[in-house]
């Protein structure tokens, strides 16, 4: 039990170490999710406009 | 080509003088910004003397940035920029001429106003020589960097704050060494190394900025 507590305490520097890693996680994961969401949105937008065009007889 | 260069400088300076407001507005802004600080931080003379180099430089930087709009935009709007780009004189030379005109109507008045304002901020006498020297070397660099920012934002509507966002990070080295030169003189050391770095920066800006600005102008004219 104390081993885990010691680890979490980070030698007394927990207030600095964990926010640093936490911030890194938030930023990197956030950027990841945001970028993938944008890609999905663009795919959706393209799929909406392409079949409509093809249906009207436009050239690819 | 030198004839064309001189002609463009003369034209731009004449237009700026005729518009009257411009150079005076820039200097007035400089004065107002500097004058705000005693109101903001209190009139205690030693404190003002301590912050004087930084305040003078930041105010000069902001005042120079304020006036960048007119380097190219007026000419773009009335079509003369297009004609200048098509002229036999290379666009780089034209840009350089316009930058010189900008400095003559902005940087030079700032340079003349600075000692007066330095007295208001209680700057010790030791710092005056370095102040003039640093501003003399720094304000042309600011005009050069500013011209690049002004040219890049030509195609943007309402580009005002964007120009500042682009120019100020690039101007940080000028600011850093300009202030350092004055502080060195105030502590009895020589300002020469800092002034030499400012000269180096100016030479670098002279070499790169006209090309970048000319490319940006051409982009805006397409």
């Amino acid at each position: 039990m104390t081993a885990i507590n010691d680890f979490l305490a980070m030698g007394g520097y927990a207030l600095f170490v964990w926010p640093a890693f936490g911030l890194a996680a938030v930023v990197l994961v956030g950027l990841w999710l945001g970028s993938h969401r944008r890609l999905r949105a663009s795919r959706r937008a393209l799929s909406l406009i392409e079949p409509e065009r093809r249906a009207r007889g436009g050239e690819p | 080509m030198i004839g064309t260069f001189a002609a463009i400088v003369g034209r731009d300076v004449t237009l700026a003088v005729r518009r009257g407001g411009d150079a005076a507005t820039v200097v007035a802004f400089f004065v107002v910004v500097v004058t705000l600080f005693p109101f903001g931080v209190g009139p205690e003379p030693n404190l003002l003397a301590r912050i004087a180099p930084g305040v003078l430089w930041v105010a000069a930087l902001l005042a120079a940035t304020l006036s960048l709009d007119r380097v190219f935009r007026a000419d773009l709007e009335d079509g003369s920029l297009e004609l200048l780009a098509l002229a036999p004189c290379p666009l780089v030379v034209t840009v350089l001429a316009k930058v010189l005109a900008h400095w003559l109507t902005t940087g030079l008045p700032l340079l003349l106003a600075a000692p007066v304002l330095a007295i208001l901020l209680n700057l010790p006498w030791d710092g005056f020589e370095a102040l003039i020297g640093a501003l003399a070397l720094g304000t042309p660099s600011l005009s050069l960097i500013g011209a690049v920012g002004a040219a890049l934002t030509l195609g943007v509507r309402r580009a005002g704050v964007l120009v500042a966002l682009l120019v100020l990070p690039l101007a940080v080295p000028v600011l850093t060494f300009g202030v350092a030169a004055i502080e060195a003189a105030l502590t009895g050391q020589t300002a020469a190394p800092h002034l030499m770095i400012l000269s180096g920066f100016l030479l670098g800006a002279l070499a790169l900025a006209p090309w970048a600005a000319a490319a940006a102008v051409r982009l805006a004219l397409d």
């Binding site: 030698g11 520097y13 600095f16 663009s42 406009i49 436009g58 | 580009a159 940006a216």
Partner: protein, 241 residues
């Protein structure tokens, strides 16, 4: 924009989609291993204690901040010289990633600096030039988006990226050229790293993980930009018809 202009982007879409899953998986793996080693399996520093573990996110972020700007500048140069539209798309896709890494480097550095130096921030050459780097990223993104015509925006931003590249060597050598509070170079040195090998390994693994993360994410962002431009082109055609 006509179809043949998008033909090589189409090839890009096919090939990049093959690389992307691998890059993502490897990035995740490397970061996981790096985190394990950095947080558990590596020693604390005899001077800095456990705060040294912040190094395992701070240093790779800083390296990526410079790497991304260099990639952005090289792509921009390629775009201005060879007019390859994918190069401009690559630069645009890189910018937000680089900005995030720069901000992360500054924030984690601040969290490391407070216990070590006693201050959250100091205006020394290294920190100031990295802050300027962040402003350059933000300026690039702001300029590119400020134009109605995205092609013009891309060109203007490319010029800005190149002009701002002078800051990259300043950041890199700032700790050598000036007396800074920030510590001098300890990894990429002429006579080899001065850092303990037990700490060097997780550091390099995290750096590899971050680089693979960049590869995966820049592909995702580039794909999104390619598709968005295709949509815009089709909308313009529809509007004209």
């Amino acid at each position: 924009m006509s179809w043949h202009l998008l033909a090589s982007p189409a090839r890009f879409m096919r090939y990049s989609e093959r690389i992307r899953p691998w890059a993502s998986a490897l990035a995740l793996g490397a970061i996981a291993i790096g985190l394990y080693q950095g947080l558990f399996a590596s020693p604390a520093d005899y001077q800095q204690g456990d705060t040294v573990r912040i190094m395992y996110v701070h240093v790779p972020s800083a390296w990526m901040a410079l790497f991304c700007y260099t990639a952005m500048a090289v792509s921009s140069a390629g775009y201005l010289v060879w007019k390859q539209p994918l190069a401009e798309i690559a630069a645009r896709a890189t910018a937000p990633i680089g900005a995030c890494f720069t901000a992360l480097a500054l924030a984690t550095g601040s969290l490391w600096g407070k216990p070590m130096w006693g201050t959250w921030w100091v205006w020394d050459a290294r920190l100031t030039s990295v802050l300027v780097l962040l402003f350059l990223y933000l300026g690039y993104m702001a300029l590119a988006d400020a134009f109605d015509d995205p092609v013009k925006g891309g060109k203007a931003a490319s010029i800005l990226a190149l002009v701002g590249f002078v800051n990259v060597p300043i950041v890199k050598f700032s700790v050598d050229w000036w007396n800074t509070l920030h510590q001098p170079v300890s990894v990429a040195r002429m006579d080899g790293p001065t850092i303990d090998p037990a700490m060097l390994a997780p550091l390099l693994i995290m750096a590899a993980g971050f680089t693979l993360y960049y590869v995966a994410l820049v592909i995702v962002r580039m794909q999104a930009l390619v598709l968005e431009r295709r949509v815009r082109a089709l909308q313009q055609v529809a509007a004209g018809a």
